[in-house]
Symmetry: C2
Subunit: 380 residues, 2 copies
């Protein structure tokens, strides 16, 4: 009988990631049984016929050895390193006819996948704006500061910005690829991927050497969502692939978070749409994200408040009298009482209190504003 790891490695070579007929068969008969059927060109007629052209140079045992020699390991569900959050994919609804847990993950890099349980994915447009990249970088950095791993793809725009934000703070970061972990796609990110493979992890369902194909990105997106506690959508146009990752977060019942942007920016349109639909929760920075993915009470956030003004402490009556003191010149007691709509004696008492606390000053002709009164009149 074939070894479990060899069978799973072989299956990643024979089949495409996220194929429901494959993940279904593995969940049923097991990876070894399916692999043995496919190499015997038996079993499920269509699947065996489809994988047949790939049988020619198939040698997963040797491939595992060669990968190991190049520092690439193949992590499977029975390994200690297996990130069990991926198992939720067995129960989540398919997205675009794909789904199921991966057969295994090919991994380059020192980061152990069983140690990124609190990870958060940060995804978005390749054609990101300067604004989007800055926010992604800040969220990446904020997650790193909180000891959270960042998970993303390796694309231009939001993906790279999120990684760079985490790396700048020596945080853990994982790139999930839609091609072999030995390939650099896009080529311009060769150094970024090499760096992630040195300090974090570069991960793929596809065996080394595989090329990136459109449908492999769709399958890859479910890994990004499933590896993490929640997905932050930083920028996404209406047709952005990041919205597919977003759908995976929703399918997995994990928080989907959207960063708002100018309504005039096409790159924020997809995010705003998810928020108005109620699929995504609006977040404005790492603190919001941590609150949403944290264990209860772990990241309780202080609600931003404006600095209190001295006048905020005044009673309604004292404030009314203060506001009746003109902005530029002094006024007499009678005039102030009339404007305030407060009786003369009470106005006088209030002015005494306000003078004592620096809000008004006694002047020859009555009272004028004191140093603590500012800011005085404003459309409040």
């Amino acid at each position: 009988m074939t070894d479990e790891r060899v069978a799973r490695a072989g299956l990643t070579r024979l089949t495409e990631p996220g194929e429901l007929r494959v993940t279904g068969a593995v969940a049923g008969a097991g990876a070894v049984a399916l692999y043995d059927q496919l190499i015997a060109v038996a079993g499920d007629q269509e699947l065996a016929q489809d994988t047949r052209p790939r049988l020619d140079r198939l040698d997963p045992a040797r491939e595992l050895e060669q990968a190991a020699a190049r520092g690439i390991r193949f992590v499977i569900p029975s390994d200690d390193e297996w990130p069990h959050q991926l198992d939720d994919l067995a129960h989540s609804a398919p997205v675009q006819s794909m789904g199921g847990p991966p057969l295994g993950l090919w991994v380059r890099g020192p980061l152990r996948l069983d140690e990124i349980g609190g990870a958060v994915s940060v995804v978005g447009s390749r054609a990101a704006t300067t604004y989007g990249e800055a926010v992604a970088r800040e969220i990446g950095a904020g997650l790193a500061r909180a000891g959270r791993c960042v998970v993303s793809g390796a694309a231009f725009g939001i993906d790279q910005a999120a990684h760079r934000g985490a790396l700048a703070l020596d945080g853990a970061s994982v790139a999930v690829l839609a091609c072999g972990v030995d390939r650099a796609y896009p080529a311009a990110h060769r150094d970024l991927l090499a760096h992630l493979a040195t300090v974090g992890a570069v991960v793929s369902e596809l065996p080394p050497g595989c090329a990136p194909l459109r449908m492999r990105f769709l399958a890859r997106n479910r890994i990004i969502a499933a590896l993490t506690r929640g997905t932050v959508l930083v920028e996404a146009a209406i047709r952005s692939g990041a919205l597919n990752t977003a759908s995976w977060a929703t399918s997995l019942s994990r928080p989907l978070m959207g960063v708002p942007g100018p309504v005039t920016s096409a790159q924020s349109q997809g995010v705003h749409l998810r928020v108005t639909e109620g699929a995504a929760v609006l977040v404005t920075g790492p603190a919001d994200v941590l609150e949403l993915v944290g264990d209860a009470g772990e990241h309780l956030q202080e609600i931003p408040r404006a600095p209190e003004q001295p006048r905020d402490r005044l009673s309604t009556r004292h404030r009314r009298v203060l506001e009746a003191v003109p902005l530029r010149q002094a006024a007499g007691l009678g005039a102030i009482a009339t404007t305030a709509g407060i009786e003369l004696l009470a106005t006088q008492t209030a002015l005494g209190y306000l003078a004592e606390h620096g809000f008004v000053l006694r002047a020859d002709s009555g009272w004028r504003l004191g140093p603590r009164a500012a800011p005085h009149l404003a459309d409040p």
Copy 2:
């Protein structure tokens, strides 16, 4: 017995707008009884004492005449022109210890207040950004296009931009002031207010001549919210007065809508906070606003969709084969079948279909991409 209109006009001179003890007494004994008590310095001890300094030059009957001569009318609840949506203030919770319907509204301008039932308020920061002003203008224009009246204050920033957007399309627009309708505050908006008084309406609870005071803005905000079907918050810093108007919309159970902006902009912070708290619904333009304030089905909005690509119509199988055709050179049938993970004969059939529809072309050495295949490989 004093005439109802005279009593109410007198009360707007004697008391401050939104005072709960005043609106409570009017709801109980009626405006005439309260007015007669106050001019006799009788009844509720404290209120009568407070209004006493204002009795000196009180002559509401003459004031009504003088106002009329200047084109200013005083609209009260028994008038046909009374906008009955204001009556909801009798049942809404106080905000910052203010509340209740106004005693009446002093009005300048040809627009009848009983004809703005579908109005929407557009409010926000005085210190708005160029972005915020552009969005406010667009929303003002979009409301005008839909035959909706715009209601706002008269401040710099969002207020004026919303009015200008509506006015540019000859729409109805109403400015609600925290001072007399004969005053221009801010002075720089003298022309804008004059224009609104010519084509729309300038409205205040305060009688002519009254100065703008901070607490009068707070009272004024409830009129803005109550006159309208919903309130759009375009930009608001954490301490913006527009958030007070927002609280009024909530207190009145009317939709509060927030326009998102860059998370890096302090002027959007208050809006984002209201959205994350769940108090405001995110809106990205006039279409969203109209959908939220419209009668059911009146403004059903088409959800934005990206233009469909020809490849979107392909079956999963055909797409898989198409994606296995390399980007730059031709490939043989075997190579394509292996990459696609689809059996040889099925791959050949698919390629035939794809060629027929322009997705691939037959080449000497096999197949290459055709004109309809673009955009091909992308992080989708």
